[in-house]
Subunit: 514 residues, 2 copies
């Protein structure tokens, strides 16, 4: 059996049975092996950033890695922005990067480049497979590596000759890493600190249903305040789940949120820092004089730790669960507020919501009143994540409807994802919020102290002239689309999209707010 | 004056007065400085790969660098595939990558990543500017670096605080590197070798009009055969220019092309190698027993060397110039052949032709019969280069019509370029050849010896289900579009597009050939 076949067989044996891909010549044996290993599902993407973002979305829903097949250094580079988001999400992702045959490298053919250097931009583990015999075993190490540190990107570079040569043998899977337990000392230390004045900052797995329920019990029993990290890889939300306020995006909004805290307990979340630096503004958002304790980092069993604390401190206390209480949006022209209400009031049960709404997301707080759902957000700040993550989430959970709330500027980064949604007939409803601007940058221009901007600068933040017609682009890529300018139209379009199988796109015309 | 303003002023002083950009928060002061430095033209791209590819196209036409403004590591990664193509084109390109403020880095905010590592994937020069005082001076070194080695990518990392702080001062430009002369010994050695049995392999600047004329005279006087490298950054072509056959793409086609050569003289071109490796196939395409001499590499004055040789060997010989002789395409349904003929017969004078037609480019040989034009090709094999390069070429030469021949699969990589063409009202006519497949990969699947492919593998190479409607996508991005299925329709659409100002797209439906 050739290397490629041993690789695919090994991966399937390790439970990695989906591969998002954009292959080229050096990956042809991998592609051909799809016929011999029918348990591996190949999903074609028309741009690598779609494939890597889809693997991120898949991992956020399943907790397990999908494979991504990329073509040499440029293909890896094209996928790196969404690998960066996956890294920040602690998503396990296995990249297989096809490379020139070992003996071809010295000829410096046109596609030769430093794959390792590019891989270091987002991967926590990088290895070039040297022999066909060891390939499947290398792949098992790579799969294991994706689970380390709470989840990371592992990149296996696959020279074409290693793939095409005979002598491959399947290797047994390695145990997938599990979170390490939190020490008794850490639990004791946090148990002694909870109470009024303490803020429990929840992140990572603490935002799972179990984590949120335990945190809610601790909060009710002790008066500890709960805050969730801003950019959660996955947060359970909606009716039947405890509602937790999220940290604000802007430093000046976070400061009042955390004001008065004397102790900050990090439960799976990093210490709060400003997203960007600004002249004369402190980046560290921990209040002056506030102690910081770490209950668990991303690699540790934060859910177990929270449940242990709840057992100690709140054994007879129930969590505070959100009721189902969505409210119809105010009728008339769409606003950021009515956009959120329309999505909440139409949200199907057990949905997955992908939020890359940037400045148009203010109204999405209404989702806490909606049916129970999983919320996936832009973890690494590299825009163009929403459509791909939604694609992968839908592949991971074919029984769950996916709703993507997507900003116009971000949508255009990886718009090719719509095609994959059409091909795979995924149940994804994309709401593109068209405000015809990089609206966030208008606000940032002022906040960075850059001062006013005249026409020449403003034109670099403005997405009119021409204004994209997302319905045309979507139809061109095979996804039926319509436009909504009022709440009534948006609600009707959402209900229709949720009722019909396959992907849909709704272009929501909303005035900019930033 | 703040750093950003000193940077823009310095760049303009050094003749770098176009900046293709997709900025973010950390670049706001750079954007704001556009108002204060009106000689710097900002051109917005909706995806970084468009910005970097445009800078490549700009450089190929002007021989000088444009700047590219990118947002942190993910923005650089998104632009890296086309920087790879620029590197292979020896295009001078100046990347300015905004980074977090110096003191913000230690907080590991969401967008923090290893920018240097990613930059090494395509840049020959990388430097992080440490102080506002030195910023403009660093930029002058960066501009100089873009001209070294025959042209390369230089990346200047710009921390936000270096950009926003006061204390910037403009630095004087440094002399832009010029090609180094070829030694007399090298000229003597080649002069002694030309004649029957010798092949002069022309690349880089040897494919300029002066280079081609000198080479043609040498060929006529001595019987030396001329061959051009396959993937030229820029090659002059058409009526009034010597016609030179290009190396074939496939190794098995190159071997007969070079068969019988006893000496191969490299004139600005690398030694011929297979684009990809294949099982049991030698990558080195120099015939057995053939001597290889290097007249000039990319950093050397190959035009001067060819003219010196022509002066010695062919002082009374004129070059062989192509006549204007386009032939109408055969009427009826489009084929690869009639596609090329239609483009040639309608080509305006002094056009720029960007060829990323992949398998559909066979008919473009007809361009040698068309009016004189410059031909820009896919130098690095990283697809998604055509639309961006055409965009930058059109910015560089507003008086020259640009025609892009673009494969469907490649077009979808960086389709956002159409928006920039619409915004800047560039005179670009894009012919997307829609064969609804990664047709080249069907051929490669067989050539790599991967064997036959059944449905599951074939589906990864197939772009139907759904087939993209490029006219809808194009209109959605602001570029008027129509579809052509016959030669008559294509000729009419081309004539109309050439007659009207601004960008146009024509979707040409052509059966796959690979």
């Amino acid at each position: 059996m050739n290397g490629a076949r041993s690789l695919l067989s090994g991966l399937v044996g390790a439970g990695v049975d989906v591969c998002f891909m954009n292959p080229g010549t050096s990956e042809m044996h991998f592609v051909q092996a799809l016929d011999a290993v029918p348990d591996m599902r190949g999903v074609l993407a028309l741009f690598e950033g779609v494939a890597t973002g889809a693997a991120d979305g898949y991992a956020r829903i399943t907790g397990r890695p999908a494979a991504v097949l990329l073509h040499l250094g440029p293909g890896l580079a094209n996928g790196t922005a969404n690998l960066h988001n996956a890294r920040r999400a602690h998503s396990p992702v296995l990249c297989v990067v096809g490379a020139h045959a070992t003996d071809h490298v010295r000829h410096d053919a046109p596609l030769q480049s430093d794959i390792d250097a590019i891989a270091r931009g987002a991967s926590g583990w990088v290895h070039t497979s040297g022999t066909t015999r060891a390939l499947a075993s290398d792949a098992m190490r790579a799969v294991e590596a994706t689970g380390r540190g709470g989840g990371q990107v592992a990149t296996l570079v696959l020279p074409a000759d290693v793939s095409w040569s005979d002598g491959g043998r399947v290797a047994p899977p390695r145990p997938f890493p599990v979170p390490s337990p939190v020490s008794i000392e850490a639990l004791d230390s946090v148990a002694a600190s909870v109470g009024e004045g303490t803020v429990l900052l929840l992140g990572g797995d603490a935002l799972s249903e179990r984590g949120l329920r335990a945190a809610s019990r601790i909060s009710r029993a002790t008066g500890t305040r709960l805050v969730a990290e801003r950019f959660a890889a996955r947060m359970e939300s909606g009716a039947g789940v405890p509602t937790v306020d999220r940290l604000a995006y802007l430093a000046e909004q976070v400061r009042p949120q955390l004001a008065g805290a004397t102790t900050l307990v990090l439960a799976g979340a990093p210490s709060p820092v400003a997203f960007f630096a600004y002249p004369g503004v402190e980046s560290d958002l921990v209040p002056d004089g506030c102690a910081v304790l770490e209950l668990a980092d991303a690699a540790q069993d934060v859910v177990g730790a929270l449940e242990a604390l709840a057992g100690r401190l709140a054994s007879d206390v129930d969590p505070d669960l959100a009721p189902l209480s969505p409210v119809d949006p105010e009728p008339g022209p769409l606003s950021v507020r009515s956009l959120g209400a329309a999505i909440a009031v139409t949200l199907p049960e057990n949905a997955i919501v992908v939020d890359e709404s940037i400045t148009s997301g203010g109204g999405l707080k209404a989702l806490t009143t909606a049916p129970r759902h999983s919320l996936l957000t832009l973890t690494g700040g590299a825009i163009g994540q929403g459509l791909p993550v939604a694609t992968g989430a839908a592949v991971a959970a074919p029984d769950r409807p996916v709703v993507t709330v997507e900003a116009d500027g971000s949508a255009l980064y990886t718009i090719q994802a719509l095609w994959t949604q059409a091909r795979e007939q995924l149940d994804v409803t994309t709401v593109v919020v068209n405000n015809a601007a990089y609206a966030i940058l208008r606000g940032e221009l002022a906040r960075t102290g850059a001062g006013g901007a005249d026409e020449r600068a403003q034109r670099m933040l403005d997405l009119t002239d021409p204004t994209t017609d997302f319905t045309a682009v979507s139809r061109g890529l095979g996804v039926p689309a319509e436009r909504a300018t009022t709440s009534e139209e948006l609600v009707a379009a959402l209900r229709k999209a949720h009722a019909e199988p396959g992907p849909h796109l709704i272009e929501a015309i909303v005035p900019p707010v930033a």
